[in-house]
Symmetry: D2
Subunit: 285 residues, 4 copies
């Protein structure tokens, strides 16, 4: 089903690895809604993933690029404008990676070179992408830039580690640059804070399964899926949200506004049962 929300628009999608990726779904939906796009990911990801399959499916050229490399980013914007025949109307940043998480370094034993990589890949790449685009005047007046974030930017989740700091930094960059790009070119910049999603990236996080269960029972509408996230991205790229900028938008079935749901508490209490005495009081210690 299409509403032609992106008819005639040109977009660039960063970070579509395989069909579990949110970026993949966004690419599909964007084209469905009438956009023409290019895809980009790291050369390694392009080789390992199935980005090419997506490229064929949505009739999009793939431009390999290291998103932390300014020259590569310049190439993405130059090529994309050539291929798509004009300035870019929307960009999705769906990039995140922590070597500390991968190497199972705990937050109180971070490797600082790795931390720098976490921040560079997951947050500073967003600044670089925008700065490159702005210097080249590659984004059309009223364009829309979205990055994907997670509620760990506001609240601490065990195991999410230095990615939490990276997401805070990412959201700050959205505000800082949203001001400047907005006042000069009416370009809006927002982050979408998505439910935990079982992507290849997400599956690396510790205890992901149980966390997703908790998150799902807390949220009155349950966890938001990658498909639903793609719909929200489309909305943010469309002309119907032209005055929304510098925001972090929760797309999480209500999780972020919950303190405790009955469903999650029932589950939690199950775990407490064995620690209760016959009067139903919890036995500690």
């Amino acid at each position: 089903m299409t509403n032609n929300l992106l008819k005639g628009k040109r977009g660039i999608i960063f970070g579509a690895l395989n069909d579990m990726s949110i970026a993949w779904k966004v690419a599909e939906r964007a084209v469905e809604e009438g956009a023409i796009i290019t895809l980009t990911n790291t050369p390694v990801a392009v080789r390992m993933g199935t980005t090419e399959e997506l490229g064929k499916k949505v009739n999009a050229q793939i431009i390999p690029a290291d998103a932390t490399n300014v020259a590569d980013l310049e190439n993405v914007f130059i090529k994309s404008q050539e291929i798509l025949g004009g300035k870019i109307d929307f960009v999705l940043h769906s990039i995140g990676m922590s070597p500390n998480v991968r190497k199972k370094r705990t937050y109180d034993d971070l490797d600082y070179d790795m931390l720098q990589t976490t921040l560079d890949v997951s947050a500073l790449s967003f600044h670089k992408m925008i700065q490159v685009a702005k210097k080249m005047d590659a984004i059309s007046d009223g364009g829309s830039i979205v990055a994907l974030s997670y509620v760990a930017a506001q609240r601490t989740f065990f195991g999410y580690n230095d990615m939490a700091d990276a997401k805070s930094l990412l959201e700050s960059i959205a505000r800082s640059f949203g001001y400047i790009y907005g006042r000069e070119k009416n370009v809006r910049i927002n982050t979408i804070s998505q439910s935990p999603t079982l992507t290849t990236a997400g599956s690396g996080v510790k205890g992901m399964d149980d966390l997703m269960d908790f998150s799902d029972r807390m949220a009155p509408l349950g966890n938001a899926s990658a498909d639903e996230c793609a719909n929200y991205c489309i909305v943010m790229f469309s002309d119907l949200t032209k005055k929304v900028t510098m925001q972090n938008l929760f797309h999480d079935g209500g999780f972020s506004s919950m303190g405790m749901s009955l469903r999650a508490m029932n589950q939690y209490s199950e775990g407490l049962e064995k620690f209760k005495n016959k009067d139903g009081k919890i036995i500690y210690g």
Copy 2:
């Protein structure tokens, strides 16, 4: 232009007084996007305003109702379902009024009967409307409810008076009921925190002109208009935002994420000029 985002949907719009009203624009846009709707407002407002003109324009019946009156609200939902032929898919709450503001009672000299009216009209009506709808099971699974709010719910603006407290209460009700209606019927409830807008309601606020100028210069994209707000409401009513609930969504050109813009500061500094000595230092006192 239409994207058919509300094709086949049934809606109720509370609070369309005249063609300056945001609710008026929402009604127009909703119908444009394929919805069929009913309109409701207080009997007095219906008589004094031009709601009937709107009714003719968008082919909508008007059901007069005092939104603080449970029986009236029941009638709105009964009649609307009869007229529209089924359960309701979306509802807009655009209602606010403070007798204390009207009577120029300052915040440190509030009349408490009037305060009660402010809260009842501007916030509790939202609870009543939702409770009535839920008891009648009048809203379809996955339906969407939106109320209009203002950033004064988070930050104090001189002269906004007890309306700030009413907006805080309104946003809290959206969260509290969003949890319950979400978990049971997948109905989502959100507030949209809109730029100051020159409506008949807004024009009662003290120093509105200068405040709108400040707000416009602070926001990188400038103040959001009533038309643009209507677009955002459409998006929140559509099926593309099915997992967004319990949120307060700023629709304000970025104002809420600004501390100080260069444009606003330049304006502010103009005002300081006459208080500066020849070295450019500010002379206080």
Copy 3:
């Protein structure tokens, strides 16, 4: 142990019912820190509770008052100034009650007269107290007013019901009046958002035991006790926090900044065990 933080200061404590009350602990600590105080509570509470015992212990007169009644509040401030010999330096508001919770009305079946009472007792009493004080110029320059709140003002907790809305309203009043009383008399107004605490009031909340367990395991420092809360109140009354105003201050062992802790998740996962198949995957439905 004393640090003489309130030496020579005069205070009024609203809401000390019995020795489980936070207000009771604040009264004790305030006097320990050198303050002289009066106590006030509803006539019923004074009769039923053990406020008199506290009065003797801390050498404080008790002034019965209905905090929703302006005349009663005037009496509290007149008498307190007479008894204590001058303007008031600090006030604690520790008042909250919901007839809807007591009568087990769910949030989608609220009685609106009761809701009005919830808001009047738990939130508007705060405005009335401050308005009365300001009109009488009863609070000294640089004085400090604190009300106790709960994180349900920001996030929904099942069973907390209309008290969540009351707390949102309370916190909004702190901001709105903090602006006005601050600019005119340097009086600061804040709310302290305290961990769930086993008081007579708190014990009415549904599933309180399990919620306190969850909250305790989420917070890295565990739940804050009533005694610890009293210390934080003292700090906010002291001259060391003269520029803190219009804030909601979380005193909760870190709960408010947590998304999920390992301890709470372990507990939660215990509850999941029985729903897992032999591969450790959760079986839904």
Copy 4:
């Protein structure tokens, strides 16, 4: 005046450059309140500043250290424990610097090596300091760590540039590490978000004078001074705030909760006067 709030406590103060520094004031007040401390700053700052004068005044040894260098930080904690005779009870992080700001690089023309330095000096140093301390078990159970921040972490101020992103990152680190250090050693970690303050660091920020005027007129209690900030730090180091952690605490006279004050608006309107026609309407363009 002293309240003996830090009697017998050992502390380390990072970042006291000269007598305009907040850290300087904190050092003085900490000692006044009964603490013994060490001071640390970069070797360059130690040479250029007047840290030695402070050292003599408060009887504190100075340990030069580059706060981005792990080995230097280890030395600070080893030496401080030797000098002070035991584990450390409190630490102040008052460090921030942006080469991009110094070199007048705008936010859309950042030098990325400089950005890395901004983040490393202003934010990652905080993580390094804590990680070093935790690995050495150098902080006593129930200890307190505070870093100074600014509201630009939440809202964009023109000219504050990449320091805004650094402050967001700093506040995130406080949360992330607050969880881990709290659950294991009851160490609390908070940031204090201070009014703009005329320090040597602050004076580099563009249009600082006018911004401070705006901030002062917005805040009902006016800007908080460095002396007042020192008092708030003392409170956060004391045993009276043992359950406050992972928080960002605004110490700003109420600024952060203001949308617009009458005083600031009057000033702003002065600047508008010349753009108004004889009917008082603003003439744009």
